[in-house]
Amino acid sequence: MADESTGNVTLLLNRWQSGEREALDQLLPTVYAELKRLAQAQLRRDGGATIQPTELVAEAYLKLIDVDQVDFEGRAHFFSIAARTMRRVLVERYRRREAAKRGSGETLLTLNSAIDSGERKPLELTRLDDALTDLEALDPRQAEIVTLKFFGGLDGEEIAAALSISTRTVKREWAMAKLWLGRAMAS
């Protein structure tokens, strides 16, 4: 079974890489489901300790892809799909959680949440998502770089490979995208 789905995902990935756009439509739900499942498994295992999306994406890759059949570029492509999926997963969850927080108004017992509340001010994922969507319209490549790095946990070289650009370009685009998004989210 596992082999079958692994082979399937690998096949889809390769087909997409060679230009079959529909292959992506079939690929995405599988990646989405796998990421979600992995995240939950990891949470249970660690009793709620922090998990990194990067690790999740890497784990999903190993689970879903027959490594021997995919080259470095293919790997990068998978990661870029996973990163976009991750963005969707996270933003959706965040939205739902925020909505639940405001709406309910029913009994609410506080948990002593010193651990979360004291940390760095949490990034507002929905605002980032909105800003990122705006950026997509202006400069799709910059938006993609941000998605890969922030949601997919890819490093500069991996991003460069996935997008077939130089690492120097990745660095420069990243620097500007950060400024742009920073300003957009501050306003």
Binding site: Q40, D46, G48, R97, A114, K121, L179, L181
Partner: protein, 787 residues
């Protein structure tokens, strides 16, 4: 913006980023000299660089966000506990609504995650505290029922509380009675502290308010169970962690906690200070955006500033609570007492305004009565010391109060200095039998009346009422036995009248009216057969008799008026006016009574919506008030009456249909009210005076169709009434507040106030009309009857 423009910006910006920081501006100036907009855009973007960590870390909300899909444990059993539904989930574990099946009671169950379980040492300390806490039943503390271990998780069984956290309430726009809430929190702390238990993590998230307004403090002592690492250097957010671990929440840590020292009960008082700031101002003492490193560093330095603009008593309390040195902070009980006196001040302020403004005039005019304040204090303190020495001396004390001290202090408006004496005296009289109070010709009872007056003025309404009641108990049998002794009858009438007045002031009209009627009856007997202003030789004097009668009628009429019975009030007031005019001719000291009567007549005609009579009545009242003010430049009350005179005349003119004249008159009143507020900004009464005239102005403007100006006026009203309501409640203030809310279209916010005022028995037609017009109390129509 279009992609093309973005690419232009991108080219310049990316090159700019490669330049050394110091040379960027210079470089930019020559990079795009002919496109200043582009240049500005790039400069702005470069300035957007703030937090170095921005986007460099993976999203932190991930675990919490994803964990929502985790299975919850609802339906499971832990021993005799059945978990019913998940209430909350957070970093530390989960909270369930559950049922204790053995005791058949609802409980809350907190499951602590295995990963966060306590070390053996902390655990034993926590267990010891849980034991003490479970034995501590306090209405303001969330009760701990049980604590046990089940399959590698810690289970805490707690009282189930239905309500909202203060954090939630603060986020929804603040709380209605901050002082009351703070007092209950302080009571919870006091109860725990007196058993040696510190909370260690007091913050708005840990305080709940039930629908009934009861405060419940949660998670006592739990902070011990969790820890957060502190970084040593605030400049290095990712630097080495400090060797020590800190328990608590960064924004609420006391300095000693932030330094890694163990939290004590005094640490809770610091956190309580920060909580109080939030309750009073609606804002966090430290900005929410500050990082935990920054917050901890601030706390380590003992930095917490008391926000400006708070009343003096609050500021003083906050300063003490936020002492960097734990030893200088008050105990929870002391803090509670300080809050209790603040709560009373809200009520007291109104009554004290008169005295306060008299005092102010006194000093401002540099009059000959330059009393040495310190000397007076010593007098009062000495009196207090006397009282403490022995209760046997209390009789002397009463004499002392009746005599010089009371008279002298009243003259200069320093009766509050008698407060401690009065409280002692009440203790004394509390032990005295009624016969003793009613001895002689009621001297003791009269002393008690004086005591009650001081208590009343100081806002101790309950104590004042009970003191008057004691006086009455003593005087009634005495008066019955000596029905022909006018002095005893007079004293009895005084007690009845004053008790009626305090009850009316406290909003208990049905309790007040019988006393008011009895006072009128007694006063009529004391003036029976006498021409107005005349009286026999001896005590009580003619002035005392007529003053008693006029005031008694006035007060009772006012009570009728407030209950919506304007016509009955008018009947009484017309009678009083007929008596007062000839009486004043003989005793000029009675003129202020006539002023009050005329004023109330004007109001009653207004409430009976009689446009034919109202302008005349109000003009008469206005003329008299102006004359009185001019003749008595040093009488603060008479000076203040001018304000209400302008205001009421304005309303009368409005009712009479002359809106331009109404607006002009009302605006004169507003100007005067502003002056009064400038003179005495701390007084609730002057503030409310301004609110009243602004409400009028707003309504007249509205009637003239000048909506924008009207709205401005109502917004100003809210600015005044909001803090006043927070400090204490008086129906007149709430009334102004709710009118402004309704006029600004904020009907939903007004509803609870409308209900409160309506339930107290307030039935002024204006109020009832408002209810009708905006359907503020579904089911109630103008007549005040339930449909």
């Amino acid at each position: 913006m279009d992609p093309k423009r973005y690419q232009q910006i991108k080219r310049v910006l990316m090159d700019a980023l490669e330049q050394p920081q110091a040379k960027r501006d210079e470089w930019l100036a020559q990079a795009c000299p002919d496109d200043p907009e582009l240049q500005a855009e790039v400069i702005q973007l470069l300035a957007a660089q703030t937090d170095a960590s921005f986007l460099e870390h993976s999203p932190t909300g991930l675990d919490a966000a994803l964990s929502e899909d985790e299975q919850d444990a609802a339906g499971q059993r832990l021993g005799r506990i059945r978990l019913d539904r998940l209430l909350a989930r957070g970093g530390m574990g989960e909270v369930y609504a559950a049922t204790d099946e053995l005791l058949q009671r609802p409980v809350a169950v907190k499951l602590m995650k295995a990963a966060l379980r306590m070390s053996a040492l902390r655990r034993s300390a926590f267990l010891a505290e849980a034991q003490v806490l479970s034995g501590l039943r306090h209405r303001n503390i969330c009760q701990v029922y049980d604590f046990f271990e089940d399959q590698a998780q810690d289970v805490l069984v707690l009282e189930l509380i239905e309500g909202q956290t203060l954090r939630a309430l603060l986020q929804q726009g603040g709380v209605e009675q901050p002082i009351e809430i703070a007092m209950q929190v302080a009571e919870a702390l006091a109860a725990a502290h007196e058993r040696g238990i510190a909370h260690r993590d007091l913050k708005p998230e840990n305080v709940m308010l039930t629908a009934a307004g009861q405060v419940k403090v949660l998670d006592f002592g739990l902070a011990r169970a969790e820890q957060i690492p502190a970084t040593a250097d605030p400049a290095k957010p990712d630097g080495d962690t400090l060797g020590t671990q800190i328990a608590g929440t960064p924004g609420y840590l006391a300095p000693e906690q932030a330094r890694g020292e163990p939290a004590t009960t005094a640490s809770d008082l610091w956190s309580f200070g920060l909580l109080l700031i939030e309750l009073l101002t609606g804002k966090r003492a430290f900005p929410h955006s500050a990082s935990s490193e920054e917050l901890i560093a601030r706390a380590q330095r003992g930095e917490a500033s008391v926000p400006g603009g708070l009343p003096r008593a609050e500021t003083q309390l906050l300063r003490r609570l936020l002492s960097a040195d734990a030893a200088n902070r008050p105990s929870a009980r002391e803090a509670r007492e300080a809050l209790a006196s603040i709560a009373q001040r809200g009520r007291r302020r109104l009554r004290m305004a008169l005295v306060a403004s008299a005092l102010l005039l006194l000093t401002a005019a540099g009059m000959k009565y330059t009393f040495d304040l310190r000397q007076e204090r010593e007098l009062a303190l000495a009196a207090q010391a006397d009282a403490e020495k022995a209760q046997a001396e209390a009789e002397d004390l009463a004499g002392f109060m009746l005599g010089e001290l009371y008279t002298e202090l009243k003259k200069v408006g320093k009766l509050p200095l008698l407060e401690p004496v009065a409280l002692k005296a009440v203790d004394y009289y509390g032990d005295l039998r009624s016969e003793a109070i009613g001895g002689g010709r009621g001297e003791q009872a009269l002393a008690l009346i004086r005591v009650a007056e001081v208590l009343d003025m100081q806002g101790h309404l309950k104590e004042a009422i009970s003191a008057y009641q004691r006086a009455l108990e003593g005087l009634q049998p005495l008066a019955a036995a000596k029905a022909d002794d006018p002095l005893i009858q007079y004293r009895l009438a005084l007690a009845e009248r004053n008790l009626g007045e305090v009850l009316r002031y406290a909003g208990d009209y049905s309790g007040s009216d019988p006393h008011g009627l009895r006072a009128i009856e007694l006063a009529r007997e004391l003036t029976a057969g006498l021409a107005p202003g005349e009286g026999p030789e001896g005590e009580p004097s003619a002035e005392e008799r007529w003053s008693l009668l006029l005031r008694a009628i006035y007060l009772y009429a006012d009570s009728q008026f407030r209950q919506g019975r304007a016509l009955q009030a008018l009947e009484l007031l017309d009678e009083a006016k007929a008596l007062a005019i000839p009486a004043v001719a003989k005793i000029p000291g009675l003129r202020p009574h006539l002023g009050d009567i005329q004023y109330k007549r004007c109001m009653a005609y207004y409430d009976s919506q009689n446009p034919a009579k109202v302008v005349e009545a109000c003009q008469a009242s206005f003329d008299l008030d102006m004359a009185l003010a001019q003749a008595n430049p040093d009488d603060a009350k008479l000076q203040d009456n001018r304000l209400t005179a302008y205001w009421m005349l304005g309303r009368a003119l409005e009712l009479g249909g002359d809106l331009p004249a109404a607006l002009e008159t009302t605006r004169k009143g507003t100007a005067l009210a502003r002056l009064a507020v400038e003179r005495d900004p701390g007084s609730a009464e002057t503030q409310n005076g301004l609110a009243v005239t602004l409400v009028s102005e707003g309504r007249i403007l509205r009637g003239m169709g000048r909506m924008a100006e009207a709205q401005q006026a109502f917004e100003q009203v809210l600015q005044i009434t909001e803090p006043l309501i927070a400090a204490g409640r008086d129906h007149a203030i709430i009334h102004n507040h709710l009118i402004a809310l309704v006029m600004l279209g904020r009907v939903e916010e007004a509803r609870p106030y409308v209900r409160e005022v309506y339930d107290s028995g307030w039935r002024r037609p204006e109020f009832m009309q408002l209810i009708d017009e905006f359907d503020l109390l579904p089911g109630v129509e103008r007549s005040g009857k339930v449909r």
